[in-house]
Symmetry: C2
Subunit: 336 residues, 2 copies
Amino acid sequence: MPTPNRQVVLAVRPTAAVDAKTCAVVESELPDLIDGQALVKVSHLSIDPTIRTWMDDAPGYLPPIGIGEVIRSGGGGVVVESRSDRYRVGDVVTGMVGWQEYAVADEAMGAMAKIPEGIDLAVALNVLGITGMTAYFGLLEVGRLTEGDVVVVSGAAGATGSSVGQIAKIKGAGRVVGIAGGPAKCAQLIDELGFDEAIDYHSENVSRRLHELCPKGIDLFFDNVGGKILDAALANLAMRGRVVLCGAIAGYNDRSAAPGPANYTSLIIRRGSMEGFIILDYLARWPEAQAVMAGWLADGRLHHAEHIVDGLEHAPEALNLLFTGGNTGKVLVRVS
Amino acid sequence: MPTPNRQVVLAVRPTAAVDAKTCAVVESELPDLIDGQALVKVSHLSIDPTIRTWMDDAPGYLPPIGIGEVIRSGGGGVVVESRSDRYRVGDVVTGMVGWQEYAVADEAMGAMAKIPEGIDLAVALNVLGITGMTAYFGLLEVGRLTEGDVVVVSGAAGATGSSVGQIAKIKGAGRVVGIAGGPAKCAQLIDELGFDEAIDYHSENVSRRLHELCPKGIDLFFDNVGGKILDAALANLAMRGRVVLCGAIAGYNDRSAAPGPANYTSLIIRRGSMEGFIILDYLARWPEAQAVMAGWLADGRLHHAEHIVDGLEHAPEALNLLFTGGNTGKVLVRVS
């Protein structure tokens, strides 16, 4: 009797937060491997806000997930069977595994990569994966971080935001301010991650605090959130300030919930710019950044935190954490 | 008995369109000239949307006009009296003359410049002044126009917009689409100014038409308007499309009337950018651009239109034309 493959598929397009109706658990048979393929037993899923955008039938940078299809997702696991010279049994690989117990690594697709020696899979999925790469290239390439810059990060206690703030400090930012929800997260930003200041958007007036903490304005705003927080940052932009648009989670579950930033006209009077990016465009340059980040990890200069949710069937709840602020650090689902 | 100087001053800060209450006509005495100064009899005022923003007590790129102060404005006239070696009686000069019959040109301020030989003052205020310079540097420097670009301009029948479209054609844009209000303006864009296509925002669905006319997306959107039109353009941005933010007239008379562009998230999925600028930053480079524009004028490649309103006391109504779409081409007030 063949091993069943448990999967989470898109049953119904969500119009709000996901749940067991929109993301249904099903069982299917494992596919037969053909030459060049290997079977990966998935151990961890990388839970990223962008997954929610793939569930909408709306234009995006990748096609929407089809109804009945496995939820597209990064993750990693161990090769347990192989008809490939590239993937050997026992190899630990990462790539777009999807929300399922077993995924196929295919040489022809080339989307799975071995993780570096001596690095834990969970850490690799955080700091050396989509999350860390997004922080690195978003801040340094898109944002063109310059020594002395006043840098502000939204979603600062999240996986990407916490790396952004730390990289900014390592690279010589003048002041790094994180915006996060709640006193515990704010304390962690300062005490553990080395941010200079933190703003608690639950209890503080973000625009007023930004004005106090950045009296000469924000040189670089790295935005994961959108909505009112983006508007507050635009109101406090420095001359020639840059806004890096990484994400806009305020609107992912409810597009009507996030009005456009009325203060975008600050870009005119302050000669500012606002630029978006997709980390996949930098894929060819990941190795250089991974080497740098691995070095910072080894030196103890880059802290990381993983928020582990156990069980494939809890992946939808894990995704929701990103929008309710229920996590600190990188959300991963431990599948096996 | 001294010559009186009629002036229009800011009597009350407007919260909507300006009128005779907010902009009051007063008479004052002419100032006595000191060494280095000259008296300019103002003949034309340059009516620009940005004047309306200076009337608000809100952060801007210049301080707000004070209550009781003459309305700040570009314009030009003839030197009628001089205690300066730089300004001779009979010289035709342009600069920040303000809404008044007589202005003082001051060597120490250095803000008045003689216009080139053989060019009419009204044309100089249009094509070689703030308007033409804004079109030139906004399109070529901020927007980095590239040959073959699909260019879209809002407020296309206005002074800046009509120059933007023409410069784009001269510089090799692949397709130039203008957005304007009403069939007459749209016909003029195509028949007289050489735009490839025009969209009438009064009667057409702008987003749908942009999708039809720019099926591969907009490479460069030059925005004078903001509001819904900016949102429609963002929805149709090409990969790595650029938005040049020149103005946002949809919100100048009523800031609550122009919501932020909810489609700014297109900048993420299309890897786009949105950048603002203020033409005063390019002041040192005006001569190079003026020489180029004067050449195109002489060759007949650059068409221009001036919309003349007679009488200083009608300056407020002239300003309102910019927001109601009542003008075609550059609005000037003929003072004397």
